[in-house]
Symmetry: C2
């Protein structure tokens, strides 16, 4: 190790695990990834998996801070959701330590409960949001796409769209997906999908257009996945209050996916978009939360 480890950061998602060796100030010194996500693990499995993936980083006694699904009810140990509005200090105050013998803490998720009625939740994206440290809309696209409203450094609202999971479900479990290739091949089909998704407010009807566009010869088989991707992203953007799209917006996601959202947001006449790196956002967020406990 060329730099001193100040913090071991872990993003334990549903379907994969990322471990970051973090230096003073939140810089990422090294990284590991593993497919053993939180879904499918028993509570007792978590310490062993973490040891196997990054045990050599844990020997020096550096603190370990974990965000994501490790804190879910079926995770390592439940870290109860903190209610909006939530600042870094609130999340830091809610850290849960699964094992007194280890310097490990789990970051709580955040719940949006207007008027006391639970309306939405997230785990992991709160850390990334604190990592980018901007006000306005923060959007974390993915399996469950999160639209997070930040005011004066506090998370005040969350809305989740099942865009990524719907994309996968339509491809694997409906007739529309038969013979559908991977997206990323037909930029024009993507743009036409976005247009349809922005215009047609009924998603279950708009989805049938994947079939009709093919029947009509307007969509090549190789473009169906791009059209579907555009349709679902367009529908996600159409689900926003137009007023909210006038301010600044920060995307935190994998580069190719963020580029799709950026293009679709531009087509929607949307906001000024900044694209942030997921890994940096995670490391910076964990560092800020860690600092708030010191």
């Amino acid at each position: 190790m060329t730099d001193t480890t100040a913090l071991i950061g872990v993003d334990w998602g549903s379907s994969n695990l990322r471990v970051l060796r973090i230096g003073e100030g939140g810089a990422v010194l090294d990284r590991r990834a593993d497919p053993r996500g939180a879904v499918g693990l028993e509570p007792g499995d978590f310490p062993g998996v973490l040891n196997r993936v990054a045990g050599d980083w844990l020997v020096d006694g550096a603190p370990v801070l974990i965000c994501g699904m490790a804190g879910a009810r079926q995770g390592w140990v439940e870290a109860p959701y903190r209610p909006c509005p939530t600042a870094v200090a609130d999340v830091a105050a809610g850290l849960v330590r699964p094992d007194p013998a280890r310097p490990v803490a789990i970051v709580p998720g955040v719940a949006f409960s207007p008027g006391g009625v639970l309306m939405d939740v997230m785990r992991g994206e709160e850390t990334q949001t604190f990592g980018v440290a901007v006000d306005g809309l923060v959007v974390a696209p993915g399996t469950h796409s999160k639209w997070i409203t930040v005011e004066a450094g506090r998370i005040v609202a969350i809305r989740t769209f099942m865009t990524g999971e719907l994309f996968a479900a339509v491809r694997t479990a409906t007739l529309l997906g038969v013979g559908m290739s991977a997206p990323g091949q037909d930029p024009d089909a993507f743009r036409r999908g976005v247009e349809r998704g922005l215009e047609d407010r009924s998603l279950s009807a708009a989805l049938f257009s994947v079939r009709v566009e093919g029947l009509a010869g307007r969509l090549e088989p190789g473009g169906a996945a791009d059209y579907l991707s555009g349709l679902l992203i367009g529908a996600e953007i159409a689900g926003q209050d137009p007023d909210r799209l006038s301010g600044p917006l920060t995307l935190i996601g994998e580069a190719a996916l963020s580029a799709r959202y950026e293009e679709a947001l531009e087509m929607a006449g949307g906001p000024c978009v900044r694209v942030a790196d997921v890994e940096q956002a995670t490391a910076a967020g964990l560092w800020r939360i860690w600092e708030a406990t010191q």
Copy 2:
């Protein structure tokens, strides 16, 4: 056979086959069903499957009229879509005979192409629609739910919602479906799903409420399928122009499913609803199309 066979009627759907022995005037004398739907059959398979299912009915030389996916591009033989507006006589004029040696004809589907742009299609529901022989909205709920506008006996518009297929895909291919039982157990959960689907115009966000309602303890695990069903049906109804919901509406579907739509339409402050029997509608429609060729 206690009555004289005037027509053998076949509804060859994607995933199953129904054969009706029809008497003079369209009365159903007998019925057979088989799981060998059109999807998965090669063109050359159709005659043999029909023989195995109802060969004993075919010996007397009664005419055979087939609606549904047997006329699709990948079916027995393609029966090209007839454009809206379409009357019984137009569909009858488009019958396709796959084999000159047999008294078999396939009913064409109907295409909706406003301004010459193909926007929607159906195969099978045109026959049921002509069978109920009413003006107004005709709704055929199912895997692909069809909303059909009929004016002066002619089909003038079609809109398809992927409601049934989305329901199945969400149950089988997303985290929401994990541990989800069959619907029909929790009428209150169904109604709350309808309310959410009618209110929340963003389906991919509304779907996440299945998870949040469970987390919040407002939805018992046994009610999740009913909530999801209500959500998707509510979203389908919310996708209609409210003006169109003020006139008469005829549902053609399986009884339990039609009852769900009837309840949801009532919650939407919707139209005066009549529920028609699928089998009777199919037989009557095939009879009318057959008569129009004589």
